[in-house]
Amino acid sequence: MKHNKLFSLLVLILLASMVLAACQPAATPTEAPPPETEEAVEPTEAPPEPEPTEVPPEPEPTEEPEPEPTEPPAEEKVTIIIGVTDRISSIDPADAYSTHDWELMKNMGEGLLKWAPGTAELTTGLAVDFPEISDDGLVYTFKLRPGITFADGLELTAPMYAEQLNRLLTIGPECPNGVADALATPYVASIEAPDDETIVFTLASPVGFFSQVLAGAPYLPAHPDIFSQEECVLFPEAPIYGVGPWFISQVNYDEQVVLEPNPFYEGEFTPQVDQVIIRYFADPQTMSLAVQNGEIDVAWRFLGPELISQLEEVAELTVGTVDAGPIRYLIINHTFPPMDDPNVYKAVAAAIDRDELSDVVYSGQAIPLYSQVPPGFLGASEAFDTLYASPDLDLANEFLSASGYTADNPLELELWYPPEHYGSETAAWMELIQQQVEATGAVNVTLQAQEWSTYVTALTGGESYPAGVLGWFFDYPDSSNYLDPFVFNGGLGTNVALAAEGSQYGEPINDTAAEMVELMAQADVETDVGAREALYQQAQDLYADLVVTIPLFIIAEHVTYGPSISGSDSYAAPEVLNIGPTMEFNYSTLTKSP
């Protein structure tokens, strides 16, 4: 008994000391926030202040720009709620590399150049005019418009902008999403600001589409106190300020992001409502129900074809089809049998019926694609339709018999696909492609599925599969972004120009490939739009002749919204809330009626 009491006492003391010990360290983290708030206030003072002697009288006014004090209660604010099934990955301009991240960044930022809402036309943003381009095409000079201010009151100057843009070249390559390696370091040699209004880009070599690249999210001005020079800041704490019409006031990951108007914004896109909330959904089905019962005002990306068809039947809702979106195509490996035989890949190109794929699997909502460059882009053609009149089974059989493949001696062909990555409907349209190709009577197609990360490495490595499915969405809206990646240096497994160390374009496998590479290389440095267009048209003819890839269809994006929401009639495509071929969704053009 005595032993028991002693034991109990010991346990009690031990546990009590554990509780006390556990409570103690808690004091340390609670001390952390004050320096953060100091940091947030401090920087806003610095840039606008030319006279350091006046420091004492004005330490606090920098907090005045905060819009909170005059705000109406949350429930009285005019709020537009937009549902998406996307996720945020990063909002650091030196790192972010996904459509949804860019959408948020473009709404809180503005670049030197931007896309006019609803179109693919470049217009000026922070720059007073289009750039002055040197004769050798290497130097782009911009003048900043006056009065550009971040949402916390910090004024943007050209040296500050240049310094922040240089993050792309310095720390950008160390960031995990790889945007700098794709859209900055291959093109830009240096970025400088000779004075407070001028920004000068010097390129490593002439780039015909550099203005299009510049209009992208990586070239937005990043707030110097939020995005440091030392490291990538994928998820800074809210509020996150830019120079665009909105700033991010709250972030609850996987739940919602709240955007409020930038009180200092003086540009073209003044917000029409008090706040926009982006709400994240795990399931498209739930998002479609949420827009039906009014929990969200707009259902944006992604609702599948079945849900879109259902929503089109709901009287109060408008379903707008944006004639743009990701494309689907077959990568043809030109060095892997049997796809190393031109007759084989041409036969497959001739056998595929894109209309049937769209009608059967996507209820007609996918747009058949007859060139790797989608309609609306510079020089886009329908070369595959011209050459192969797809579908044309007689033509396909001519190609096959030329290589000795008949019903008695059928071609054995493997087609690969990832079963989940592009949606569960991938299996359905792959089976349809199998049937279409087998309809020639001279081909036996075996479908092979593989888990995504293994699949993409094997397919784009160009050594494992004869053919497989991939998807693509542009990094910048220009034809070069739909052609170059599939041709140059291995071409994501097409092997029409074999990867070669030290070569920018790779080693073309035949004369047609060499001619195509030459045309595309010329187009990439050509600054005259007409000349570029002609070059891309010629390149697409050769691309189709070589069947570098087999373009299949565009999965058109849809935007669904309730009766109180409307786009702006001042811009193109108000019926799809001014979302154009660039897929940019500008929240400032939205209005909400009571």
Binding site: V19, Y97, P176, A290, H421, S453, T454
Partner: protein, 365 residues
């Protein structure tokens, strides 16, 4: 203090007090049992985490290619793998993982935003708790009351009705039931919200301290937020609770029926005690022992298994988190999530064993 630390304290302090009480007042056998179980928990978590660590790396695919897709050139993929330490020897990676786990740091996730795992769990874990606790209460209440009611009216219409209910509700696919409730109460009647944890606009006014929104809205006195949170809880809780209640109905019913044949019940009945008192006061208590065991098992399964409910209702909880991260091969997130679950399951099963001994004095350790 992070929300997860606050929750750990909210759950941990009462648990600690309970533990102290048991260690002081319990029998020597019980104390030995409790200490042994605590001692075994740590190796169990360690073994499980180790298994998950190696299994994740044996599976095909890796987080970098999975995230970058066709836009990831070999050079970029190699650089990022190097930065994330995925090119280190497996034992070095394992050592780093153990160090992170022991320091409860868990490192950063390998995909998405590469955020600290502790931050991600601080958001996800409270959401799961907020869903699972009321769903368990609902399941238990419906199951125990329904089961006892069926037992007390054995071979009558009520009994048959409850038996049919328990089989049908248990065999319904959870996503189908969720969808039907969403359509009925959310779209057609428009009575209840169908997605998320709180109204988006009201959510902007809520101070998130624990990330359990009911608690946060009470702490901050935000009654609008409390109302919205409760409204958002109804459909997912009912969906999950109803599905789970079936098994409790069956178990309670059969145990109450068995107990009703016990001698002490017959003796009580002979003394003229009313049937209702016999069932609900005397028989039910003794029939609860297997039910308590099942509660422990179900809560453990629920924590990870609420994934379908979380998906259907866009509820950002741990189940969905783990599924998303497994598919993107986010090693650190999966390892850490499973280690935390293992710890929690061990604690729950220990609690169940202790409650077991308190409910049934015949149980001796």
């Amino acid at each position: 203090m992070s929300p997860i630390a606050i929750i750990a304290l909210i759950i941990g302090i009462p648990a600690l007090i309970g533990l102290i009480y048991i260690l002081i007042t319990g029998s020597t056998g019980l104390r030995r049992f409790v200490i042994t179980r605590i001692g075994l928990t740590l190796p169990m978590v360690f073994i499980l985490a180790t298994l998950v660590f190696f299994i994740m790396r044996v599976l095909p695919g890796d987080p970098v290619t999975s995230a970058l897709g066709p836009k990831g050139t070999p050079e970029i993929i190699e650089r990022i793998r190097e930065q994330l330490g995925l090119n280190d020897p497996i034992l070095v990676q394992y050592g780093n993982f153990l160090k992170d786990m022991i320091t409860l740091n868990f490192g950063n996730s390998l995909t998405g935003g590469h955020r600290p795992i502790v931050d991600e769990m601080s958001e996800r874990f409270p959401a799961t708790l907020e869903l699972v606790i009321p769903a368990s209460f609902l399941a238990l209440s419906l199951g125990v009351i329904g089961g006892a009611w069926a037992a007390s009216r054995r071979k009558r219409a009520t009994d048959y009705g409850m038996r049919v209910y328990s089989v049908v509700i248990y065999s319904l696919p959870i996503f189908w039931l969720g969808l039907m409730l969403q359509l009925l109460f959310g779209v057609w009647l428009n009575w209840l919200p169908i997605s998320g944890r709180i109204d988006p606009v009201i959510g902007t006014t809520l101070d998130r301290t624990t990330n359990i929104y009911t608690i946060d809205s009470i702490i901050s006195g935000n009654w609008l937020a409390l109302g919205s949170t409760l409204a958002h809880l109804v459909l997912p809780t009912v969906t999950l609770g109803l599905i789970l209640s079936g098994v409790f109905v069956r178990l309670t019913r059969i145990n109450v029926i068995e107990t009703q044949h016990a001698d002490y019940i017959s003796a009580a009945r002979a003394r003229g005690i009313r049937e209702r008192v016999l069932t609900y006061k005397h028989a039910l208590k003794n029939a609860m022992i297997p039910v308590i065991t099942l509660i422990g098992l179900q809560v453990a399964i629920l924590l990870a298994g609420a994934v379908l409910t979380e998906t259907v209702f866009s509820w950002p909880g741990m189940g969905r988190y783990l599924v998303e991260r497994i598919s993107s091969r986010d090693y650190t997130a999966v390892q850490s999530g499973i280690a935390v679950f293992a710890l929690l399951v061990a604690v729950i099963s220990l609690a169940v064993d202790i409650i077991y001994s308190l409910v049934d004095p015949r149980v001796r350790y």
